[in-house]
Amino acid sequence: MVSALPDKHVEVKDVTLSYGREPVVHDASFALKSPFFAILMGPNGAGKTTLIRALIGLLKPVKGRASIYGLVPWRDMGAIAEVVGYVPQVINVDALAPVTVEEVVAMGLLSKLPPPRVISGTVKKKVKEYLSLVELSDYEDKLFSELSGGERQRVLLARALIRRPKLLILDEPYSMLDFKVKCEVVELLYRIHRTLGVDVLMSAHELSPCMAYEPTVILINKKVFAIGKPSQVLRLDILKAAYPGLTEVKGLIILGEDHALRK
């Protein structure tokens, strides 16, 4: 775990992000104080993934600034790679690539070393340890392509954790999983947050699987509408502003296909 870094946490200040002329995220601002278990929540096209891409240094803001423990992501890439463990959306990896689970997880560790990056006995042992942490013992020799969606998510999580990051950033870690598996993934993330002291920031469409853990919610749709505990953020006036497609039915407000709240 990186501990010698300045404790400035995560800060996004007036950040505007764009791939072309139109901004995808406009003047977004929020700050998180360690330790945190936070969710970047918003509808499709809200700019969640874009903001995450900026936080890991893949995208430079058009305007504003962001910092992670005092580091600027697109400037201090080497240092950011040391403190941030990134877990992409499973659909963004080549699921049919001929790689084994061991190779995927080991690369988390080997990427810190110069070439040739050979999987040694020590690395194998570490891979076993972290696969066990994500409850995938004895999966080393399986092919990534043979795994279920939930298992793939756990493998990518193990790859991020083996680097012993201070912050885990996950892009839609439970999208396209059934509700039970979603809850299992969130439970695992919360356990890692509590036991290893890793800060967690994930993006999601829905909050339901996380409600039990009282996460910090950052409600975003192009801009940040609110930040706070679910009871502070999930208010009708705020949700109506952030979700233009919000539907009200018989005492409920419906945000999405599997996410409804009592009025």
Partner: protein
């Protein structure tokens, strides 16, 4: 000489082909051959028309490496891979057409020299061919094996690799440049047309047949294709490249037929 050419060629193909398949860049690998032809024509033009002492093999290698790096950079900048490849093909084909037009009346002999890039010269493999393939193999094969894990990983999850500090851009440059060097070297012996097939078959077979021993299977299938092709060519009194072509094509068809049909249509 032909046997040595076949052996070295199969070693080169056995190393590069799986990397291209894993990187989902096999289309790039085969379309890159257009730039080998364009580069060869540049060399023929410089030697025969401008009377400059620049061997066509050097210009072929330089042009194909340059175009491969340009393609990699276009992809890195966000252009879809198929569009980047199409642009590189346009550039190469335009160069080929223009130079062929001028060479046809300025140096008719130059056109026939250039055609040796299309059909290959392995029927007349020389010590120069063997030396060229050996030099390419000495550079390409160790580098492919040294960075095999990174190639697999970078193309498996480019964003994840980048977030871990791996320079995705440079690995793409490296793979594409090594492919360009291999394609140039092979095209001189086998011809551009045949290299299309030979560059594809071993990687396809290896990735389909043996996920965990990809390179072993790729080397074996590559050697088998080359050796059987040469034997067939001897038996049927064909040019060696034709024999290799028949075997390589048969292997690709077998690999395609071997794909388990899972869809209803």
């Amino acid at each position: 000489m032909s046997a040595a050419t076949a052996l070295l060629g199969s070693a080169l193909v056995g190393s590069v082909s799986p990397a291209l398949v894993v990187a989902r860049s096999i289309t790039f690998g085969i379309t890159l051959l257009h730039s080998v032809l364009a580069g060869g024509l540049v060399g023929v033009f410089l030697t025969d028309v401008a009377h400059l002492p620049v061997p066509p093999v050097v210009t072929a290698a330089l042009v194909s490496i340059l175009i491969s790096v340009l393609t990699a950079e276009a992809i890195n900048r966000g252009l879809p891979e198929d569009s980047a490849i199409a642009t590189s093909v346009c550039l190469s084909v335009t160069t080929t057409v223009i130079l062929t037009y001028y060479l046809s009346f300025m140096s008719p002999l130059g056109v026939s020299k250039a055609m040796s890039y299309v059909f290959g010269t392995s029927a007349l493999a020389t010590a120069g061919d063997v030396a060229r393939l050996a030099a390419t193999a000495i550079i390409v094969i160790p580098l492919i094996h040294m960075f095999w894990g990174e190639f697999k990983y970078v193309f498996f999850d480019p964003e994840g690799a980048y977030s871990m500090g791996l320079r995705v851009r440079y690995y793409r440059y490296l793979l594409y440049s090594l492919t360009a060097a291999t394609a140039t070297s092979l095209a001189m012996s086998l011809g551009v047309l045949l290299t299309h097939v030979v560059l594809t078959a071993p990687g396809l077979i290896a990735v389909r047949a043996a996920v965990r021993k990809i390179h072993a299977v790729a080397y074996a299938s590559s050697l088998l294709i080359m050796a059987s092709g040469y034997v067939l060519a001897l038996a049927l009194e064909l040019p060696p490249s034709a024999g290799v072509g028949i075997f390589a094509s048969a292997t690709v068809i077998y690999a395609l037929l071997g794909v388990r049909k899972w869809s209803a249509y």
